[in-house]
């Protein structure tokens, strides 16, 4: 055995080094930005994806519901009972908003702050009485419904990046408030 190690120590060293490199590569892979936190979600890009593009991805389907200008389509998610909602604007003829519910556990408030910096705006919606706000990252085209204390995220929204706060509120946040409501 000693002779063997003596004879092939350099090869053993190389194998060890290769393993470390492979390990580092894997580590980098797992710590990189998860695809779903980018503005393109499952090849659907808000502001770019047309009806034809969307049909290639989700197939021809009828909208789950109509909400103002938006036809809302459903896309199966990992969470069987909570599909993702895709908002297609009839005026713009593009997908404008994607709402992902109860995202994976590895996504939390701090992940988003680390990736995108401080949010441009905190808005208040239907979960504010439980400490959840809507944190908007306008440049990234991402908003999260999160409780900053626990870090838990209820929803992730993807919309066209670099729109103004006014546009965001007008298009996607008409039921949100700019200041917290008193919760009775």
């Amino acid at each position: 055995m000693r002779v063997f190690f003596k004879k092939y120590w350099f090869l053993i060293f190389l194998s060890f080094l290769a393993t470390i490199l492979a390990f580092l590569k894997l580590l980098l892979h797992f710590t990189s930005i998860p695809e779903t936190t980018k503005n393109t979600w499952n090849n659907i890009s808000p502001g770019l994806t047309t009806k034809a593009d969307l049909e290639k991805i989700i197939g021809k389907s009828t909208p789950w519901k109509q909400e103002g200008d938006f036809s809302i389509f459903l896309y199966p998610s990992e969470n069987q009972n909570w599909p993702t909602e895709i908002y297609f604007s009839q005026k713009a003829k593009k997908v404008e908003l994607i709402k992902e519910y109860f995202p994976k556990e590895n996504k939390n408030y701090q992940n988003f702050i680390n990736l995108y910096g401080q949010p441009d705006k905190e808005l208040f919606g239907p979960h504010q009485g439980a400490g959840f706000s809507v944190f908007v990252f306008l440049k990234r085209g991402v908003a999260i419904v999160a409780n900053p204390e626990s870090g838990l995220i209820l929803e992730v929204w993807y919309f066209p990046p670099n729109i103004s706060l006014g546009d965001f509120i007008e298009k996607f946040g008409q039921n949100l408030q700019q200041a917290p409501e008193v919760k009775f």
């Binding site: 190389l14 892979h29 009972n81």
Partner: protein, 419 residues
């Protein structure tokens, strides 16, 4: 076009670079060393020469590897050692990951049905006294009923604990008979539907219970056909200035002693479930602020503050039941903020718009119907049903709410995840 795997590509190029550089450095070093040492006579130098010759052989072995698959044994060894090291590293990752997964698993909250067959209520009088009133006797009254079917082989567990100075202590009091009322047994052969069993007993608490919260838990389980069903309830006594995690603040208006006493009695009921009490109080004090205005009470959940007003009609402090209802609802907001994983499960299980099977918002909440108001309302109605069943203040139209019957999903969620 097939894309090259980035891991293979970077690993391959890294290995090649290391191999080339290593071999080059080694070969040059060895050649230089051999040249310098070739004339030496000491044993150490001889050893050095032999070592360097060994290194040179190793270097030649590397060359052999690079030449291809001539030496299958060497190739086998490289792959074998690579695999071995990789396995070790993977194990180093997997073993701690398993522990992490286990701790995450603990956070997942089960969701299952509760007992709809067995009802138990327990009331203690008095439930709120001053330290100076000790020692004092307390009377417990217990009612156990079968709801849908007769229950047989009923087993009862009755346990006591008290909270003092942030600590919890179990204790076994001496129970005395209440005249005309049967003592609580440990077993009952049968309880028939429509024939509830009523029991009672007295205990005495001495001066060592100053400034404490005394909580009694009664668990009842019995057979309904081949199935075992179980339910439980609590009764609590507050003594002196204990208030769990609630603290009175005069930052707006001043509290009167009688108002404090009324609130303390409500607090004793709210905190009587150890599970709810622990999760509500886990992140420190909840400030109770008195606001003498005729408006709805409200909560600031992020800052753990509850504002108790006179109520929209001005009568909150005229009724102990309304104080309990109001404080239960407002503390439910704080609970939701401090336990967002439970609130998350509440949303996932009760408000799925895609399933078409979601249960309605509880109708007794008078303002806008949103999930973040429905959650505290669920808590408030559950507490009210436990202490004041059929109390008309918790109503929809003319009908008072029974959470178990009217909102079974809400009720089961409470039983399984909150209380």
């Amino acid at each position: 076009m097939a894309e090259e795997n980035p891991i293979n590509s970077s690993l391959g190029s890294a290995l090649q670079t290391v191999g080339e550089a290593g071999k080059f450095a080694l070969k040059k070093g060895i050649d230089a060393g051999l040249a310098a040492l070739s004339g030496g006579t000491s044993e150490a130098i001889q050893l050095g020469v032999r070592a360097l010759k060994g290194l040179k052989k190793a270097s030649e072995a590397v060359g052999a590897v690079r030449q291809g698959a001539d030496d299958k044994t060497t190739l086998f060894l490289i792959i074998g050692f690579g695999a071995l090291f990789f396995l070790i590293v993977v194990l180093i990752i997997i073993i701690p990951a398993a522990f992490v997964a286990k701790s995450v698993e603990k956070l997942k909250i089960p969701f299952a049905g509760g007992s709809e067959y067995l009802a138990v209520s327990k009331v203690v009088t008095p439930s709120n006294i001053e330290n100076r009133d000790l020692p004092r006797e307390f009377t417990y009254t217990i009612a156990i009923s079968a709801i849908k079917e007769n229950i047989t082989n009923v087993e009862i567990t009755d346990s006591f604990k008290y909270y003092k100075g942030g600590n919890q202590y179990p204790f076994v009091p001496t129970k005395k008979e209440v005249q005309g009322v049967e003592m609580l047994p440990e077993k009952i052969d049968k309880i028939k539907v429509g024939e509830p069993k009523i029991y009672g007993y007295k205990i005495t608490l001495d001066t060592s219970f100053k400034d404490s919260l005394v909580v009694n838990e009664i668990k009842v389980k019995g057979n309904i056909g081949p199935f075992k069903k179980e339910t439980k309830t609590y009764a609590a006594i507050t003594i002196g200035s204990t208030s769990g995690c609630f603290s009175f603040s005069d930052s707006k208006d001043q509290w009167s002693d009688s108002e404090k006493s009324q609130v303390m009695e409500a607090v004793s009921k709210i905190l009587s479930s150890p599970r709810y009490s622990q999760n509500l109080c886990q992140r420190g004090t909840i400030e109770l602020i008195r606001e003498r205005v005729n408006d709805y009470a409200h909560a600031d959940s992020r800052n753990s503050k509850i504002y108790l007003t006179n109520g929209s009609s001005g009568g909150t402090f005229n009724s102990q039941e309304v104080i309990l209802y109001t404080l239960s609802h407002e503390s439910g907001h704080i609970f939701a903020n401090r336990n967002s994983y439970i609130y998350n499960e509440f949303l996932r299980n009760l408000f799925n718009p895609f399933s078409g099977k979601q249960e309605d918002y509880i109708c007794s909440y008078p303002l806008g119907k949103t999930p973040d108001e429905d959650f505290p309302e669920t808590i408030a109605v559950f507490i009210m049903n436990s202490f004041y069943p059929n109390y008309p203040y918790v109503h929809c139209g003319n009908k008072s709410i029974d959470l178990q019957t009217d909102y079974p999903k809400h009720y089961n969620f409470c039983i399984n995840n909150i209380f």
